[in-house]
Every structure is written in C-alpha cells, then in structure tokens.
C-alpha cells in the first residue's frame, strides 16, 4: 500500500509513498553477545507515514536478547525492488517489510517470501491480522504490523457553516449530493483533494469501486477477464465521479496539486471533504481543535462491500532465503507480545495491528473513536491491493485523473479499464494463472 506521501522517483508503482526517512539507513549497533546468538537483518519502512516507528524498532532491537538484529529503514521508492533484487541475488534480509496484497504476493509467486504458518505460533499469527490478501494456496505470508484505516475526512466547521449536521455526515449518495450542494451554495468547495500525482485516483477506487462488488475476489475476476469493466455496474464509481465533476462539487485545483497538499485543504478550512488515512488523523484533529471527522464514502452501490469501513494493513514477513527463519519468526512473535504492542502505541501514538493490544490504553478521543468504528468485523480491505501494476499505472490512475478533470466520462473510463485489463492478460499470461488461483483464497 502506497498511500502516504507521494513521491517522486518511484522505482515501481507500488512504491508509492514518499521517502526521505528522517534517519536514513540506520543500523543497530552490534551488541556483544554469545557467539551462538543468531544475527538477523531487518529491512523495514513506515517511519515516513508513522513518525515514531523508528524509535519503536530501535527500542525493540535493544531489548531483545535471543538474536542480534540489525535494521535498515528503506526508502519508499525501493521497498519492493530492493528486496526483490536482493532476493534474486541470493542475499535477502531475514525480515522484510511487506505492503498488502499484490505488493508482496508477487514476491511470494517469485519464491522470495516464506510461509509463516508452521514457522511461528498460529494464534499470534492469526491475531496479528495479516488479512486475507496475505493468503495463497492455504499459506499465510505476513504478520500484520499496524492498521491503516481509510476514510473520508471532513471539516465540521465548514459543515456547520453550510447548515449541515456536523455529527451526522451523509450516509447515502443522494444525501451526499444534497450536502455538496449546500456546501457549494455557501461558497465552500465540497469534495476533492489533489490528483496531480495520481494517488488520489487510487484512493477513489479504494472507496468507490469497493461499493460495486460483493467480494474482493470479484475485483480479481475483472482483471482476469471473467467479468467486464464495460458492464455499467463495474464502472459506476467513475460515472459517479463524473457526476460530482459536472455538478461542480470538486475543488477547482484538484488536477494540479498533489495528494497531501489536497488533504491539507480540509483542516485548513478550504475544502469540506477529502480522502485521508488513519495515521494523519491525530495531527489533523489537533490542528483543528478536534473539528474534523471521519466518515465512510456515502453509498451509491449495491455491492456487499458498500458502506463498510476500509482498513489496510501493513505487515512484516520472512525471506525464503533467510538462513535463520526460526530466529526471525521468534522475533516476529516478540514484536507481537503485549509489552511490545503497548510500546508501539507509546512510541508512535498509533495502534498496532494485533488483537492482543489492550485498546483501553488509547487516550486520544479521535484515535479511540476511529478504533471503535473502524476496527469491527464489518471492516473490509483495500481493493487496490489486488491491482496488477500495469492496470494500476495505465487504467486506475489515468481514468481517475481524467474523469476528475472532466476530460473523460465514466463510460469511457470503463472502456479504457476493460482494454487495459485485456492488455495486461496478453502481456502477462503467467500472472493470470496465479491470479486465477488467488481468487479461490479471496472469494470468501
């Protein structure tokens, strides 16, 4: 999952986020331990979207005696390519940070990632919430590390000013359009953000496309050709975006600014609603004196996933080429111990993924509220984690950008998506087969 800060040189589309680790490649100081102590290397990422994670990693390593762990914070743009390159060359790290879905499943298919079931405690693994997207042929390839709720951020003061109930945001599309209309009449840009660097279009798919399907496996069926984006049901999300554009409900600068500057418009009081993520919530809440709220994208779709809160999950895994897989698995278990989960919250201000975390520790009201409403059995995963890279680059991003800009209709977006899906199948016959198999694990 890319999301967080958009950046520039992405080596791979998946890289997304942005980089510039505050600390660069930090390596833990070697500690003087018995010669038998295994040594592990860990490549990780996340300080970029969750400041404090570095402190957590360092503290965890310093307090661990069963192995000597050295860590390296990776740059956003190379999280995947660096790992795959090292794995292909036969010298991967023992522990590797893994984004969800295809962002690590491709490495699984290439044979670079080790199955964790059988290697570590089943209960701990299950409770860490790796999500269904980490399963292939009955195996699980990641532990969850921390969750990333995805929602619509809205400015309560602007809602008040437009005469809307700031504590009861719209739930269905008609009410949403009505709210947008009132906001617009009050001279406030209703919805949008910044799509120039493309991630906005991805997030829009995350929220809106999910409404049109019943299982995440159904999304995969669209890529492998069992279903068709030209079916109005499967491009309705783009048609709805077109509707917002035509009604003048998107902010006028959406096409020329980037993702984060776009989200910043909401706490700044210049935009009523935009898409955002959990790790930003605390800061935006503090900046507005608690006057921002989180809502689910109002529903138009009839799919079983419509209207449900979305949570993506960052995770950790073990390389197939690791020479100390048991020691690496033990370290993952240690990171999931109650004491470490508490430390995670203490050092990052954000929540760890595991169910074993004691939620009563949460102090901030905005974060606690997010925990209550998003961490339910009702939550769904992020469908864009299933997208083949080619589809992501050539269909998902271009369609969203152009529909939001007004130079493409929802129907044309459906045509383009169908064509690119077909091209992806032609270019990648081998991946299509693996995807087909993956659907079995996903269509539940």
């Amino acid at each position: 999952m890319r999301r967080t800060l958009p950046l520039l040189p992405q080596m791979r589309r998946r890289d997304v986020l942005l980089g510039m680790g505050a600390a660069g490649a930090a390596s833990a100081l070697p500690r003087h331990l018995a010669a038998q102590t295994p040594s592990l290397t860990m490549w990780w990422w996340g300080e970029q979207e969750l400041p404090g994670l570095q402190a957590f990693v360092e503290e965890s390593i310093a307090g661990y005696d069963a192995a000597q762990v050295s860590s390296m914070l990776q740059d956003t743009s190379v999280v995947i390519s660096q790992f795959q390159t090292a794995a292909a060359a036969g010298s991967p790290p023992d522990l590797q940070y893994l984004w969800n879905g295809i962002y690590h499943m491709e490495s699984v298919w290439f044979g670079y990632v080790k199955a964790l079931n059988g290697l570590m405690d089943e209960g701990i693994l299950r409770d860490s919430n790796p999500t269904v997207l980490s399963n292939f042929r009955g195996n699980t390839y990641r532990t969850g590390w921390y969750p990333l709720p995805m929602f619509i951020l809205y400015n309560k003061d602007l809602f008040d000013r437009a005469g809307l109930d700031a504590d009861a945001p719209p739930l269905v599309w008609e009410d949403f359009l009505d709210a947008c209309d009132k906001l617009k009449s009050a001279g406030i840009a209703p919805f949008g953000g910044g799509a120039q660097d493309g991630y906005w279009a991805e997030w829009y798919v995350t929220h809106a496309f999910a409404q049109t399907i019943d299982t995440v496996g159904e999304a995969v069926e669209l890529f492998i050709g069992d279903k068709d984006f030209r079916d109005p049901r499967y491009h309705e999300h783009w048609t709805r975006l077109q509707e917002l554009r035509e009604l003048g409900f998107l902010n006028d600068e959406i096409s020329s600014i980037e993702l984060y500057p776009g989200i910043d418009l909401v706490p700044a009081g210049r935009l009523a609603m935009s898409m955002s993520i959990g790790t930003r919530l605390l800061e935006d809440s503090n900046a507005t004196g608690g006057r921002v709220g989180a809502m689910v994208l109002p529903t138009f779709g009839q799919g079983a996933l419509a209207g449900r809160p979305i949570v993506d999950m960052q995770g950790l895994g073990i390389a197939e080429g690791s020479s100390e897989p048991e020691a690496a698995a033990a370290f993952l278990e240690y990171l999931n111990s109650p004491e470490r989960l508490e430390a995670f919250y203490r050092l990052t201000g954000w929540l760890p993924a595991s169910n074993r975390f004691d939620a009563s520790l949460i102090e901030n009201e905005a974060v606690a509220g997010m925990w209550r409403s998003w961490n339910t059995d009702n939550q769904i995963t992020n469908v864009t984690n299933l997208m083949p890279g080619q589809f992501y680059e050539q269909a998902a991003i271009p369609t969203g950008q152009q529909v939001a800009q007004g130079s493409m209709t929802g129907e044309e977006a459906g045509d383009l998506a169908a064509r690119v899906a077909q091209e992806w199948r032609d270019f990648n016959p081998d991946l299509v087969e693996l995807y087909q198999e993956w659907v079995e694990d996903l269509s539940v």
């Binding site: 958009p6 942005l18 680790g21 990776q74 740059d75 743009s77 390159t85 980037e258 500057p261």
Partner: protein
C-alpha cells in the same frame, strides 16, 4: 553613433534582450523569493515580495545533513566520471588521431554509433547485469555507467580536436626525443585545453543533472544523489512550498556559484566544443 534612429532601434533591442532575460530569470527569482516567505504568507501572497523575509526555511534545509550528503555523493560521481572518461578518451583519441593501427576506423565508427544510444535503453540489460554481479548501489558501478555513456562523445570531440593540431609540432617533439605519452601530456593536452574544458563542463553537468541512472542504480538511501534527493524532498514537503523552494535553491547553489565564478570559461568552453 548618436543617430536617433539607431538609438531607438538599440532601445528596442535592449528591451527585447531584457524581456528574454526576465523570462530566463523568473523561475530562479520565484524560487528564492518564495523560500524567504513564511508558509502562511505564501498561501495569500504567491507573487509579491515577502513582507517579512524569514530565513527559517534555509536554516531548516542547511541544518539537515541529507542535503550535504546528497551533494557529496553527486560531487563524488561527477569527479569520478569526469576523471575516468577524460583519461580514457584522451588516450584513445590520441591513438586514433596520431597512430596507425588495425581497427582504428572501426573503433572510431563504433564510438560514434554508441553516441546514439539513449541512456534509458541501457537500463534493462545493465540492471540485470549489475544485479548478477552485485554492483547495484555502488559508486564505482554507477561511475562506470556514467563514464561509458559520456565517453563516446568525448572520444569523438577530442579526436576531431587532436587532428587539428599541426603535424610540425609532433615532428619537433619527436626530434627532441619525446615519447608518445610525453607528447600527449606536455603538448597535446595543453593545446586541447578549450576542448577539454568543454568536455569537463558538459560531462559534469550531465552527471550532476542525471535522474534516470541515479534512481535505478543507486537505490541505497546513503548513496542517493542530489537530483534523486530533491525529487524525494519535494515529494515529502510538497505541502510546504517555501521550504521546498529553499531546498531547490540550496540544491542549485553549487552550479550557480560555479557558473558565476567561471562564467567566461563556461561559455567559452562550450563555444569551443560546439563550433570547433
């Protein structure tokens, strides 16, 4: 000289040059002026001069070790590449221009053909090769690529230049008992100084400015170049425009300062290479 018509015409010409200079300078001025504005002021005043200039953005950029590390990395790559490619090209060009040997013309033709290779074309096979022999994210690996990409043009240019040196100078040197290497270092290279200057400038600018090779072959955070670094920097702070602009200003400072100091050599060097 004081003909009023000439005066008017000159006025127009000066005005035209002034307008062109304004356009050429505008982005640099915008960059510096914006970097001096507080974030809050930029939101409401994007065009004008800062009401109360602040240095906090420059201080933030100059206070972060990253920028200097990136500059150091870029400087290292530039130095390594320029030294390597100039030495290699000078030796080869001397042989091609002044010696008889089989394969001479083939070699020159090959070099010329390699000038046609767009860098992006080399990325795929080199990436695979470097992965296999473990040269990804190594300075010497990157320097070899940069040097190979700029050397064909260097050989071509120096060969052309060496051929223009009068034969008598060589004959005199041989009579004095000088060997080839001495002729090259004592006579040919000093005479070819303008061309060498051109090469150093063009090649250094090319390597300094490169983004493509840098992002693919130097993935390690500690080896990031300035161009790759600012790309990341602007992504990280893209909601803080004045800070971003301070970063850009600091990043362009070394070349601008070098340009101001060596302006005449800069322009003269480029001219020498361009129009033999």
């Amino acid at each position: 000289m004081t003909n009023p018509r000439t005066l008017v015409a000159d006025g127009f010409k000066q005005a035209a040059l002034g307008a062109a200079a304004l356009v050429a300078l505008a982005p640099t001025v915008f960059m510096i002026v914006t970097a001096l504005k507080p974030q809050s002021e930029y939101m409401v005043n994007k065009v004008g001069l800062p009401r109360e200039p602040v240095l906090e953005h420059f201080r933030a950029v100059l206070g972060s070790p990253e920028f200097f590390r990136w500059m150091g990395n870029s400087a290292l790559l530039v130095t390594g590449t320029v030294l390597l490619s100039t030495a290699v090209a000078a030796l080869a060009a001397y042989a091609i221009a002044r010696m008889e040997f089989r394969g001479r013309l083939t070699l020159l033709a090959l070099c010329t053909a390699l000038m046609a290779v767009p860098p992006v074309v080399m990325v795929v096979p080199l990436f695979v090769l470097y992965t296999q022999i473990g040269l990804i994210s190594s300075y010497h690996g990157a320097i070899l690529i940069y040097a190979a990409l700029v050397t064909p043009f260097s050989v071509y240019l120096l060969t052309t230049f060496f051929r223009t040196i009068p034969a008598e100078m060589f004959e005199a040197a041989v009579l004095d008992g000088a060997g080839d290497f001495q002729i090259l270092t004592r006579i040919v290279l000093p005479l070819a100084l303008p061309a060498l200057l051109t090469l150093v400038i063009v090649n250094a600018l090319w390597v300094w400015n490169d983004l493509l090779i840098a992002v693919i072959f130097l993935q390690d955070d500690a080896k990031r170049t300035l161009m790759a670094g600012i790309a990341v920097f602007q992504g990280r702070y893209n909601n803080q425009i004045p800070l971003t602009m301070a970063g850009m200003a600091v990043a362009s400072a070394p070349m601008i300062i070098l340009y101001i100091i060596f302006q005449r050599q800069f322009v003269r060097g480029l001219m020498a290479g361009a129009v033999k």
